[in-house]
């Protein structure tokens, strides 16, 4: 029997605002517990909600980059339930009149291009975070995240494979991060994804029993969870055990399994109703077009520009536009050092290997672009060679050194004076008589070894072109003499 997996996604994305959705507390990630809390987001009485305009604008930007139909009037509603991470006892969300509906995102997965359709996007506030202390059998609440603005992007059940899900999430991350809507960092929880999954016989029109899986913290975890859960569904269908029920399941990444979250016997009634504390917000054409006009260049347009106007290889353009951060580094460095291909080569060949070796993701790489350009200028002007340049770049990345000062202070300037290099090369030839003999006997490959030895003697500072030429000259002199 062949089966088809059917999935829909609910993606929560934290909006990149300075402050929270309904108060002026900082919305930044990584503060001390309960540092970013005021009476309003702590749910105290007497604190009216004041909508953060920037959050609505980022919501409109999210609607624009997902081709969604923006509502003329949106409003906020209350979703009520008791839980300690929800200080007011209700979450402010959009239930009746969300900011937009009916969008789509085009993805490219194994099967080619595909359009994923979106049911809606709505703005809502995040909840706080519970920290359980098994030692004291108590729970602590951190309200920093309370009321941080989110958009929830709800797709239709258009996904048929984990590859499509991953391609969609990568596309969303690119669209939203380039538009400045969110930094979309899964590891910091600013992009979270719940998967609604069901399995049916291929060709069937009827959907199978659906489960919702939560708590995946990486694309890899999402793919693994989908794989596990779809196999669990197929197993249950084939066994005819009837164990499949509509429920929410938590993914355990260490065990590689999903577990039932043991919902209450009856479904919770959230008692949605329009929030009487907040006026509906009118979104007119003028507002939309001013946001549309100020949207930064999206990744695919950047990609086109890099491959056509700047003449970069597709591979390089793809890597650089794969991360908003990298494309910013590229553009800022290019402003100080106008050689598109060289900057791209150095980012992909050198910078990324330094960054990855330090275990840092492309999105988190931080470097002073003016100093980066300074390194490139030193290499271009032959003040230092490429190998020294790479070491210098590592210093610029890790310690923020000034490239010019550092080179001067440590005497890293390239030695291109043949007169100064010749005695060193002669020493190498004397010390490696056996290798020289091999070379003269016709073995070209030992040449590199001799160059390496010579570089060592100059502490890597020799001009490779000069040293190559000089070495060949000295060797041919020996050859001639021996004849």
């Amino acid at each position: 029997m062949n089966y088809e997996v059917v999935m829909g996604l609910e993606v929560h994305v934290e909006l990149a605002t300075e402050s929270k959705l309904f108060c002026s507390c900082s919305a930044k990630f990584g503060a001390e517990a309960n540092e970013n809390v005021c009476p309003a987001c702590a749910g105290m009485p007497g604190m009216p909600a004041v909508t953060n305009k920037k959050a609505v604008e980022l919501g409109i930007a999210a609607a624009l980059v997902t081709n969604s139909a923006i509502a003329q009037v949106m409003s906020f509603d209350k979703k009520s339930y008791f839980y300690p991470d929800l200080p007011a006892g209700y979450q402010i969300t959009q239930w009746f009149a969300p900011i937009c509906k009916d969008g789509w995102v085009e993805i490219e997965a194994g099967s080619g291009k595909k359009r994923i359709t979106l049911k809606q996007i709505h703005i809502e506030e995040d909840a706080g975070k519970l920290v359980h202390e098994p030692r004291t059998r108590s729970s602590l609440v951190d309200y920093n995240r309370t009321s941080v603005p989110l958009v929830e992007i709800v797709s239709n059940p258009d996904f048929r494979s984990a590859d499509e899900v991953v391609a969609y999430l990568e596309k969303l991350r690119s669209l939203l991060s380039f538009a400045g809507v969110s930094d979309c960092k899964m590891q910091e929880g600013s992009l979270r994804c719940d998967v609604n999954i069901s399995v049916r016989e291929e060709g069937s029109e009827v959907l199978g029993t659906r489960t919702e899986i939560k708590n995946m913290n990486s694309l890899k975890a999402i793919a693994r969870a989908i794989d596990y859960e779809s196999r669990r569904h197929i197993g249950a269908i084939e066994a005819g055990s009837g164990e499949l029920i509509q429920e929410t399941r938590r993914w355990d990444d260490d065990l590689g399994e999903t577990f039932s979250m043991r919902e209450k016997e009856t479904a919770e009634d959230y008692r949605y109703f329009p929030n009487p504390e907040l006026m509906p917000i009118r979104i007119d054409e003028q507002w939309i077009s001013s946001i549309r006009d100020s949207l930064p260049e999206p990744a695919h347009v950047k990609y086109e520009r890099m491959t056509t106007q700047l003449g970069l290889p597709e591979h390089d353009s793809k890597i650089i536009t794969g991360s908003l951060n990298l494309s910013r580094i590229y553009e800022q460095t290019l402003e100080c050092f106008n050689n598109p291909k060289e900057v791209a080569n150095w980012i992909i060949g050198e910078l990324l290997s330094i960054v990855h070796a330090a275990g840092v993701a492309d999105d988190d790489c931080a470097i002073d672009c003016a100093k980066f350009a300074g390194v490139l200028r030193l290499v271009e002007g032959k003040t230092i060679n490429r190998a020294v340049g790479k070491k210098l770049l590592a210093k610029v990345y890790s310690e923020g050194v000034d490239p010019d000062e550092y080179v001067a202070k440590h005497g890293l300037g390239m030695v291109s004076d043949a007169g100064a290099l010749e005695p060193l090369l002669r020493e190498v030839l004397e010390e490696n008589a056996k290798t020289v003999a091999e070379y003269l006997g016709g073995s070209q490959k030992v040449f590199g070894f001799l160059i390496g030895q010579a570089m060592k003697k100059t502490a890597g500072k020799a001009d490779p072109a000069v040293i190559n030429e000089l070495m060949r000259k000295l060797l041919s002199d020996i050859d001639r003499k021996s004849v």
Binding site: M44, G46, M47, A49, T51, P87, G89, Y90, V141
Partner: protein, 378 residues
């Protein structure tokens, strides 16, 4: 202090009563002072902030005398048949001359009724014109700080001080300032409309007619008058039930002493600390908002609220005059709900042998004051 403090839940030491002093209902938050909204739930709760109205009054030279008693979250007015609730402390404080005036949130209309029957005036400003920053939430779509005062002129002065936009309240109307004295310059009312069906069975009808006939009096039928009380109860209970969700024993306010898990913490805390009316409102509100009831009760009430508001036609008249007494409890709630349901300004005034409530179009407080000046020969 050597005056009767019964009407105060907290009197401030060393503040001189009398002219220039203000009493605040205990639902208005004053930094560093207790604010209970009349509920055991908030016993010991100290306000972290001061309401915008307090800052405005203090900078105009007024002194805060203390916090007056109130029925729990102002909810008892929603159940007028359920028994007598004590007279609002705000009314007592002004009647006794302790405070020049008092501020309170009279969303259920019970304070204004009691004010007029004690010979005082109650000014209910246009919705969204006085900041609610620091006013404990009860019914956010109707919550509005109003003024209990001895004479309209004093109230008019206070209104001009406390009204006006505040960036800390996200649901205010733009350009909401009210300048005292506009009444004398503003349009004097010519036509006063009396709602025929609201007059039935009211002991105040002679007073209302007497008032209206000092102008050109017209009669009209107030649409859905018999449903207003029910609409009011449904909407207020829904909103209160939501406003009270924050009281769960986790963060502030009362917390039950013993509980074995989270659920018990919630139920014990709320069972212990809410009184009968708060519980009734929370339960009724949760029922109104339940999924299977939403369209039948909440949505229908919202539609009626809109229909009622749209039926009022201030092109045809300048003011609506309503009586303050009714033979039935439901009638009482209906009589004192129209301004809150429609977000309109009103003044409830003692008049003749009874009282009258005057309602004007949004933002036309000037017409209300002008009418009172004319009728009372001030």
């Amino acid at each position: 202090m050597d005056f009767d403090m019964e009407c105060f839940s907290t009197g401030y030491e060393g503040v001189e009563p009398g002219d220039g002093s203000v009493a605040l209902e205990d639902s208005i938050m004053h930094k560093g002072r207790s604010a209970t909204a009349g509920s055991r739930m908030l016993e010991g709760f100290i306000s972290p902030i001061s309401a915008t109205v307090i800052a405005r009054l203090e900078s105009a030279g007024y002194r805060i005398l203390g916090k007056t008693t109130m029925d729990e979250f102002g909810a008892s007015g929603l159940f007028p048949g359920a028994g007598d609730s004590p007279t609002s402390g705000s009314v007592v404080a002004v009647e006794q001359g302790l405070a020049e005036f008092a501020l309170c949130n009279d969303y259920s209309g019970s304070v204004r009724r009691s004010a007029a029957s004690h010979g005082l005036f109650y000014i209910h400003p246009t919705y969204g014109t006085v900041s609610r920053y620091g006013l404990i939430h009860c019914v956010p779509s109707m919550d509005q700080i109003g003024i209990v005062c001895r004479a309209p002129d004093g109230g008019e002065r206070v209104l001009s001080i406390i009204s006006g936009n505040d960036p800390n309240d996200g649901a205010m109307l733009p350009d909401t300032g009210f300048a005292a004295g506009e009444g004398s310059r503003g349009r004097k009312p010519a036509v006063v409309a009396v709602a025929r069906n609201a007059m039935a069975a009211s002991a105040d009808s002679p007073a209302v007619w007497d008032f209206a006939e000092r102008f050109e009096a017209v009669e009209f039928e107030l649409e859905h008058f018999s449903l207003i009380g029910a609409v009011m109860q449904a909407l207020c209970c829904a909103e209160i039930s939501s406003s009270l969700c924050r009281y769960d024993g986790v963060k502030f306010g009362h917390r039950a002493a013993d509980y074995k898990d989270m659920r018990e913490l919630y139920t014990k805390t709320r069972t212990e600390a809410f009184g009968v009316e708060a519980k009734l409102a929370a339960l009724a509100g949760a029922m109104v908002l339940a999924q299977e009831n939403y369209s039948k009760y909440y949505d229908k009430s919202m539609r009626l609220r809109r229909v009622i508001k749209e039926s009022l036609d201030f092109e045809k008249y300048d003011l609506i005059a309503l009586p303050i007494c009714s033979a039935s409890p439901e009638g009482l709630l209906a009589l004192h709900s129209l301004p809150q349901l429609c977000g309109l300004p009103s003044i409830t005034a003692p008049f003749g042998n009874g009282g009258v409530t005057l309602i004007a179009d949004a933002g036309r407080e000037d017409v209300l004051f002008a009418a009172l000046r004319e009728a009372l020969k001030l």
